[in-house]
């Protein structure tokens, strides 16, 4: 039996082709896996620095591309700190893809509202690629994104490109301006006041820091979104990715396996979700 030979703990090797500086603390790693790597948008991988450690990331590249993979990493802790020192040519380890991604086929015929903050734009970019590919089947895609400062915004060229795509609208805000910014100032949820969306025929996707996820969800509910129309990408300490090690438990769920994308309806009974 083929299943007998699979070792779920063993990573696939991938060569680092390019490192793109997105912001002072954020870099995108372009990886060439040793084998074709297929994932669904919103699924995540465990990316390993040899002998150091691994951490969970949702690829920021298109799920339609299977011979290369882009992963956007914020320098946050020990492993990501060492990742940021890596140069092209380095060999990294990939496990996955893991978990349940965005159910994009269910978005057909709908308006998709995406609320993102900070590094949450990484998974969202992958989702946007997938939605662009199926745009004929969608009514509209609206992105509302906030970063702390204009300099912290990643993938800056993405916004003008999105606004040039038929049916796509992209809005940006910053928490604090650094002087070189003439756009809106305020949290990402404030952008929701200026958009036009047919809520009854819409789904909302929220991805960002926990505090934004919480207040974003509250705002969407106030706007009239129903619990099952809101998709949340939960962030926990996903360590094994296999629904076993227990580090990412959120109530009865293993976020790594049962998520990381949940509808608000699936998880709202659990007071632990915003912790």
């Amino acid at each position: 039996m083929a299943g007998d030979t699979i070792n779920i703990y063993k990573p696939l090797r991938a060569t680092l082709e390019e490192v793109i500086e997105e912001s002072p603390l954020i870099k995108t790693f372009v990886l060439i896996p040793d084998e074709e790597f297929v994932f669904k948008t919103g699924q995540f991988i465990e990316l390993a620095v040899d002998g150091v450690g691994e951490a969970p990331f949702t690829p920021s590249s298109s799920p339609l591309v299977t011979d290369r993979l882009e992963v956007t990493v914020m320098k946050t802790g020990y492993v990501t700190g060492i990742m940021h020192e890596l140069k092209p040519g380095a060999v990294m380890g990939i496990r996955g893809p893991y978990g349940r991604g965005y159910p994009v086929s269910e978005f057909k015929g709908k308006e998709v509202l995406i609320l993102g903050g900070g590094c949450g734009l990484a998974p969202i970019r992958s989702l946007l690629f997938a939605l662009e590919h199926m745009k004929d089947d969608l009514e509209k895609v609206i992105l509302c994104y906030g970063s702390k400062t204009p300099a912290d915004c990643i993938y800056k060229p993405l916004f003008s490109r999105l606004n040039s795509i038929d049916k796509f609208e992209a809005y940006r805000t910053v928490d604090v301006t650094d002087g070189d910014w003439d756009g809106p100032v305020g949290v990402a949820t404030a952008l929701l006041d200026q958009i036009k969306v047919k809520i009854e025929n819409s789904v909302a996707v929220v991805c960002g820091p926990p505090i934004m996820m919480k207040f974003g969800t509250i705002r969407l509910l106030e706007m009239g979104y129903r619990d099952e129309q809101i998709y949340l990408s939960m962030e926990k300490n996903m360590s094994c990715g296999l629904g076993k090690c227990g580090h990412c438990m959120m109530g009865e769920f293993f976020v790594c396996k049962d998520g990381p994308v949940f509808t608000y309806r699936e998880i709202k009974h659990n007071p632990e979700i915003w912790k």
Partner: protein, 329 residues
């Protein structure tokens, strides 16, 4: 299911012969404790059959404390584990849910399960903190093991539960069917006695169907009170037959070492950004109860506590979870 019987000395002689092809572990009692030891014919008289739980939970045979999970080093030698009490056998069912999950089967766990013949042992006595029946678990095994053992005088009776158990019995030349069913009546009698002892010992403990709601409703003050003597040593989770959380440690050449971990240790849920849902001791303490009595039942339809009582015995702060339940009932 059927029963077979064998004289104790023949049973031990057969085990001695099986040692050429199997690793065999038996519960051995010494002055201080009762625990599994490799079988040796010369030590056969110290084997303690039908006593309550050995010190080591059965899970340790399947989930080593630390192992390299990228380089397979399992020798694949079949094992016979004798003397597991039913609380541990039931717990193995929960570990199966996680480690034999079809989407991601742990190959090391699966191989150990496959290569193990499990001979459970009915409990004819109880320890101070045994409370399996309070959680709907019988002190004897009818499923989940390959054989179940009942010792009576110089005789061993075997309840043959699985095909694997049947195969082992066929390798016991001296084993014979039970012609007179009355010879097995002592087993039923022992079961009744053990259950009566457990009922007496645990009078007042809430019904297991109510434990989830009790824990869910428990206020912050309960967790602060009971965790005040907790030092996050993790003894309760280490000794628990159902606790199975682990950490993956990266080694050079993309090797990975899997090491048992516990939600009682600080930093268990800490993420790189610094957020830690279990930063407070009382919240870690509560997490264990929520996991066992609320979340695992929601996910796997089964309590993650089989009432073995080891966590009560192991706690250096003398925290007794049953006292917590009594206070809340």
């Amino acid at each position: 299911m059927y029963y077979t019987g064998i004289k104790k000395e023949d049973w031990h002689r057969s085990l001695e012969e099986l040692l050429t092809s199997h690793d065999i572990f038996v519960p051995v009692k010494d002055e201080f404790s009762l625990d599994y030891e490799p079988f040796r014919l010369s030590q056969a008289e110290n084997i303690a059959y039908n006593t309550p739980k050995p010190a080591t939970p059965l899970k340790n045979f399947f989930l080593p404390v630390r192992e390299n999970v990228t380089s397979a080093r399992d020798n694949g030698r079949p094992r016979i584990i004798i003397g597991a009490p039913n609380c541990d056998v039931e717990a193995l069912g929960l570990l199966d849910e996680i480690y034999l999950d079809e989407a991601f089967t742990d190959p090391f766990y699966r191989n150990r399960r496959k290569s193990t013949i499990l001979v459970s042992s009915d409990c004819f006595s109880v320890n101070d903190h045994c409370h399996c029946t309070s959680y709907g678990v019988k002190p004897f095994t009818m499923e989940g093991a390959d054989l179940a053992l009942l010792s009576e005088g110089d005789y061993i009776f075997l309840r043959v539960i699985s095909d694997k158990g049947d195969e082992l019995v066929r390798q016991l030349p001296a084993a014979a069917g039970i012609k007179d069913p009355e010879r097995l009546l002592f087993g039923d009698q022992r079961h009744r006695e053990t259950e009566a002892l457990l009922a007496e010992l645990n009078r007042g403990l809430p019904d297991y169907k109510a434990t989830g709601e009790i824990i869910r409703r428990a206020g912050e003050h309960i967790w602060v009170k009971y965790s005040s003597k907790c030092v996050s040593c993790g003894a309760c989770t280490t000794i628990c037959p159902t606790c199975s959380c682990f950490l993956l440690i990266d080694k050079p050449d993309f090797e990975k070492v899997k090491q048992m971990d516990a939600c009682q240790y600080p930093g268990f849920e800490r993420v790189a950004g610094g957020e830690d849902a279990l930063f407070e001791l009382a919240h870690r303490f509560r997490n264990r109860y929520m996991c066992k009595y609320v979340w695992r039942p929601q996910k796997f339809n089964s309590l993650a506590c089989t009432g073995c009582g080891r966590c009560i015995e192991a706690c250096i702060g003398k925290i007794n979870k049953n006292e917590l339940f009594m206070e809340l009932t």
